[in-house]
């Protein structure tokens, strides 16, 4: 599990950890049932306060992304798929918003952007195994 923390910015670290784990789950790089590293291991790896990791895991658990098993540890939730779709949409929306803002600033209209997206789709194979909508 690859997580990168930026301690220079103003985004709280627990939030960075949460967002990146959500992203890994949404993108399929973490699968339901996969085990997350222990709080201590991840804290040492990222050199951050263990309480920060504990908070990120706790909030991910509340959000239903991960689940704690009594003695074993923290795992990606099995029932994560409907939520994963919501999360995926949220991620996609963020990216689209960003794209539109930049496009408008450069003077492109919505029609041009849509046309460009369609053209790009023809040139590239969508990633993932279940690419058919």
């Amino acid at each position: 599990m690859q997580i990168h923390i930026q301690a220079q910015g103003g985004v709280p670290i627990y939030l960075q950890v949460m967002q990146q784990i959500k992203y890994l789950v949404a993108s399929g790089r973490l699968q339901p049932g996969d085990e997350l590293p222990s709080i201590r291991t991840l804290a040492e790896q990222l050199i951050v306060n263990p309480n920060t990791i504990a908070r990120a895991y706790r909030e991910l658990e509340t959000a239903g992304v991960v689940e704690k098993r009594r003695t074993a540890g923290t795992f990606v939730a099995e029932a994560g798929s409907p939520l994963a779709r919501k999360e995926r949409l949220k991620l996609l929306k963020q990216r689209v918003d960003q794209l539109l803002v930049e496009a408008f600033q450069m003077g492109f209209g919505l029609d041009e952007v849509l046309k460009f997206v369609e053209q790009s789709e023809l040139n590239s194979q969508p990633p993932g195994k279940d690419s058919k909508p």
Partner: protein, 294 residues
Amino acid sequence: MNDLVIDIKNLSRRFGDKQALQDVTLRVPRGGVFGLIGSNGAGKTTLIKHVLGSHYAQSGSVSVFGFDPVADPVEVLGRIGYMSEDREVPGWMRVQEVIDFTRAFYPGWDSGYASELLELFELDPKQKTRSLSRGQTARVCLLLALAHRPELLVLDEPSSGLDPVIRRDILTAIVRTTADEGRTVLFSSHLLDEVQRLADRVAILNCGRIILSDELDTVLDSFHRVTLRFDGSSDLAPSLVGAIESKGHGHEWTYVYRGDREQLIRAAKSLNAQIVHEVPLSLDDIFVCNVQRS
């Protein structure tokens, strides 16, 4: 919060005509990492020396584990692991001799752990400490501070002037110490990215005064840099309640704002202004603007 490891009340200290600490109140709860931030000469080391009982309180009080560290040094110092800013070890001793010497002061010394650290830090027990590099010396000092598994680890500017590899060792030691239930770390630093990574609580010390002390997340949440767009153009920044800094011209002004977001939205609305850009402030930015202001 009743379980305080350090409880300092209204501490003031004067050296000659220099006021080193002025009415400092500081509470460090058990089981976390407390980051003490301040410029050089702000009083961080002086404050730490009061915790260790090397300085007595001229006015106010200092309590560590519920004891006065000046009156009860045995009760207090035996439970603290301390690494000083200067990181001095007697140059005529060998590494093993320094370890044996220090061990004698601590009934809780864990020899197994000391050897483990010796190996981890790749130190040669037979080497004269005089010939150690700066980084190796720091590792020896860290070992001495950790090997009795102290309840409170106090590190004064632990990573200043050290290379990234040794800094990593030191920061990892802080992480490990707090991962063990109930142990507390107090460290001072002006490397704010380290503080942001490791601390749960921070205090900013400036010219001997505490100007901010809170949970790190609360501090990060309560400062914003926000750009407002106003209907009318003006030559002076329109005054925004809660703003502590402003820059800009014409229609758009950027503020550093202290307060919660709802407050900010209300304040912007009352000025008929639109929030066009908003970024969270890093601890670095927060430190700089608070220090400049006071």
